[in-house]
Symmetry: C3
Subunit: 472 residues, 3 copies
């Protein structure tokens, strides 16, 4: 018995051990599971909470919209004017607004909306309760224009940059809350291409013929870092447009043989397809790309086919090769500049160093652990403000001069290629000379035993930091 | 008697004393009066004398007009061509000039002057003695076009900047005599808007339809510091103008409903009123203003009413608020830069310091008592020449980048707002970095006991000083 | 006999001496002649050999053409597409290309080539063997358009710059081989005006009316250093063109009375003469010229006569005088800047000094004997790359700001004159400040006994040297 008992005791202990062990194993398995579940839930809850502010996007709690934002992002922020009370019929809108705002009525009268057999009146898009008016969103337009809307939405597959994600990705970045709002407004007006259709089709005419013209695109697609308008109109294509375009029949679809020269939409929205992102090969010139990946080879073939509407295929291919070479040459200059800056940073020669200036408001990590950053890093364009002049030079070299050269090469504006590369070369010379100066000065300081820190340094406050925030 | 006599003597002495005292008091009162009268008279005489030179304005004795000035300021300087002799009748002018200068005749034939029942021939404005021809001044045109001329003259009430005072105020400033004349000529061509009507109405067609187009304004209203043309044509308004404007009926008056988008004149000369100055609210962006003074509130309401020709009143008001915010943001940057410069000046770190360079020729006070000056000071724009690079940076930040941002915000050119603020931010970074450098260098100099003065300094001579004067 | 013999011996010795002397003299005369002949022959042979590479011009052995070069310089480099085989008749070309490239066919149909009684079909210029197609050169066009071609060729008399020598002189310069080819391509596209006629007359319409419009010129004549388009369109002439040009009858010849304002071609190719170079007076603003040499006086008279198509002769002359003064003022600034740089160079204060950077690839002399060079030196524009920032500043001051001011003054764009001179003044201020800094730093270095040479200097490699050559 004793034996048995001991045995059973032994067995029971063994069982107990196994149970304990199992429980321990289970607990060990369970704990991280629970942690993961909790973390993920917390993460979701945090993101959800983050989006719950008066603004929009991931940083919605850090900014509140200016009233004018309602016109740029009506779905989120439009508040109807409440001066006039009542429900109105279609003809009543026209009758009254013919007096108040005759321009928009005459535009509407000239539109297909007015001239179709069953006219689309104001109330179809704006509602008829004058205290609950709405501004139409792309979804509203898409109720009738399903094909175009579907193509437009399809851009999302390609990520950003794309038209359809322009607003969403804008409000989801840190510098949306960092940057003084008065300046942000200039960004948002163009990014609103995602949230309303009249960026390209001027209300209330909504003319396809208008949108086919390059003028429709260049309100936004102009100026650094995307001088599309300037480079197109400076090309041989653009010059012929300028000379003859006012006599062309813009009611024709954007297909082979209908236009003397290509326009913005002819190439980027060929056949009227409302999807621009699927053609992106060189990624705006922001990064060096390999133009010969299998995917990019397909894109090249698409471009060559398009150019062949007018030109010899062989010539089209050779032009693309020129563009590749231009890009390679640009990146050589950029890498040379970045290299110099990294060495200066490594030798602690750039002021303000990390920690010598206030952190960017949204960058809590940076306030705990200040890091040096040279070159492009996504989502924090504000990191190029309140920095040394030489770093700023590099930023402009990359973001403006380089991208200007790229767009010029892509749009056939030879003077722009020259200008971009000439400016990059000048920036590089400036960066080199400044590097020489900083290093000489350091030697002298060391000899004279003078520390670099200065009282009353101007970096303590600055743009895009606490200094000039507008409590966005 | 004695008593009497002594009394009378006493009295007479008292009277005498009083008389003496009165005379003294009178003299004391008289002397400053005479001095004031003499001084004022002398002042008037001096100003009168100053204006008596071969030039015009307060500094007329310091410059003489180039012959071409006669075409820009005919009242003061035009000298008739004397090649042809004789008195000519209206038809004779036409007959001869049809051969010699057919372009101006064909322009005249297309004008209302030619097509009215009683045609206005050449001699009506130019006279008929070919050796005593005159170029018509605004007053000459005003003989018939009294309403427009009256409105134009009425701008004077608002001071400068205004069209009607453009020439007068130009020649009344010191830098008119300081600046090399070859460069001044580029200023005067636009300032001649005050002294001849064909700045806007091309001779000899003088077409109202032409002047309604934005092209008529932008020969002058372009380029820094007033990029009106660039910012308008880059806006959504401007793009529609570019695409469709050549098909519009420009014979229509500038009133509600007649134009698809506003043009320069539609907003600034609404209803065709030849008075632009009364609408000035933000003072060209040159100074920070309070947009909410009672006077400015009235101006705001005027603008909102104008925008309401096409837009919702509420939206118009919100756009103006955006403009206010943009201005505030710009001034933050400008003040930050000015502050750094003032500190550098205070610490004697900017070269050339006052006195290290030749005084501006017209600034006799400066030659006696050299003063440091940072920031904007009226009437002496030449004070921004032959100065340290960092001061020049600040000048350009204020006068070009800031004003570019302002015009962009006011005209709805979002990319221009971004560009202006981006450039100001870059200038501020440059100014900060340079401040760091100058302070470090000073420390090093002090340690090494090296004075800052350098032999052969390049500032001894320089632009806008004695160096390159052309004996204007 | 003896006597005779001695005499004769003497005589013969004398004769012999004379013969020897004569031979020596002859040899002495002959040797340099032979050397000269050999050298000249060797020179010719060397030049001939130099031109024998895969490229073109004096440096043809140092670069090989990108395939696309065939479209810009067809005579040297075009290789026919070989996809399609066969000999085709005129109508067959049309039939097939109506489908493949309808745009060029419709342009041809609208051309005088197609609409003349005996149409000029594709094969007339391209041949009819599809594997041996050629692109027409100016000589090809000249077979029919002899007058225009003759005038065009006649430009050669005036040397470079001229259209007819644009390509030849481009490939004959050192920096054609120095410069990264990707950038060169942007230059060559415009220089191809020498090697094909469709730079101005867009293929396949070849419309004289198109070439009369300023748009035809400004694909190339825009941007620094030749902002012809910008300055023309910013002038009063240009503004009227912009407002009204689309309504003008461009089929009219470029003669007096046919156009409201002058265009590029109206002034520079008056009467349609295809010879632009004979009017060059101010030499592009590249050098200071004396406008009053006897030759230049003739050119002035020509210009004044042209301006007199519309303006008073006296006024035209006064405008030219203004242009002279503008030029003088510009050169004062340029000389002041050059002077400062030369002193800095003399005091060995500019880095990289000669020899501190790799020589330009084509400049073998520089690799043996590094020379300092400040200012303009022909045929080696690449010498402005990989230089100190202050030298680069001077280069831009001279080549862009100065030339911009010149073109503005010549084309009547007052804001451009102001901008050019303002920028030159700012550059001069920057150069002066930098000079101060470099001199102060030198003093400090001397006191602290620190040499200027730095380890890891950034100049060891650089643009236009061995660093980023693309084995052109």
């Amino acid at each position: 018995m004793l034996h048995t008992s001991t045995t059973s005791a032994f067995v029971s202990r063994k069982v107990k051990n196994t149970v304990v062990k199992n429980t321990v194993v289970k607990s060990i398995l369970l704990i991280p599971l629970v942690i993961v579940l909790l973390t993920v839930s917390a993460g979701f809850a945090y993101v959800h909470w983050s989006k719950g502010g008066t603004g929009a996007g991931l940083y919605s709690r850090h900014w509140s919209p200016d009233p004018v934002q309602g016109y740029w992002d009506p779905d989120n922020f439009y508040q109807s004017t409440e001066i006039v009370k009542g429900l109105f019929k279609a003809e009543q809108c026209i009758q009254c607004h013919e007096e108040i705002t005759p321009g928009i009525v005459s535009d509407w009268r000239a539109s297909r909306h007015a001239r179709s057999e069953e006219p689309i009146y104001c109330n179809a898009c704006h509602g008829n309760d004058h205290q609950q008016l709405r501004l139409p969103t792309p979804d509203e337009c898409g109720r009738c224009h399903a094909k175009q809307h579907g193509e437009f939405r399809d851009e999302a597959r390609h990520g950003f940059p794309s038209h359809v994600l322009a607003m969403e990705r804008a409000v989801d970045t840190k510098h949306f809350a960092d940057k003084p709002k008065a300046e942000l407004q200039s960004c948002v007006q163009c990014h609103s291409v995602a949230t309303k259709c009249d960026s390209c089709h001027t209300r209330h005419r909504f003319d396809a013929a208008e949108a086919r013209r390059s003028e429709a695109c260049i309100t936004c697609h102009s100026g650094p870092p995307h001088p599309d308008g300037e480079t197109y109109f400076a090309s041989a294509h653009g010059k012929r447009y300028l000379a003859e375009g006012s006599d062309w029949d813009w009611s024709k679809p954007l297909t082979k043989g209908n236009y003397k020269v290509p326009t913005c939409a002819y190439c980027h929205m060929d056949g009227g397809r409302h999807q621009v992102a699927h053609k992106s090969l060189w990624k705006f010139g922001l990064r060096e790309i390999n133009p010969h990946t299998s995917q990019n080879r397909v894109l090249r073939e698409n471009w060559i086919e398009l150019c062949s509407d007018c030109h010899d295929e062989k010539q089209a291919g050779q032009w693309l090769t020129e563009l590749d070479r231009e890009r390679k040459s640009a990146w050589r200059k950029l890498y040379a500049a970045e290299d110099i800056l990294k060495r200066l940073r490594g030798d602690n020669l750039l002021r303000p160093a990390a920690g010598e200036r206030p952190p960017y408001p949204m960058d809590w990590l940076d306030s705990l652990w200040p890091r040096e950053r040279i070159g492009f890093f996504e989502g924090q364009a504000s990191a190029f403000y309140n920095v040394s002049a030489i770093e700023r030079d590099y930023f402009e070299m990359w973001y403006f001069e380089n991208l200007g050269a790229y767009k010029s090469a892509a749009h056939g504006n030879q003077a722009g290629v020259e200008a971009g590369h000439r400016k990059m070369a000048a920036s590089l010379d400036r960066i080199k000379s400044k590097s020489d100066e900083l290093r000489t000065l350091k030697k002298v300081r060391q000899k004279a035993k003078i520390k670099s820190d200065l009282p009353g340094a101007p970096w303590a406050k600055g743009a895009y930091t606490d200094y000039n925030r507008e409590h966005n």
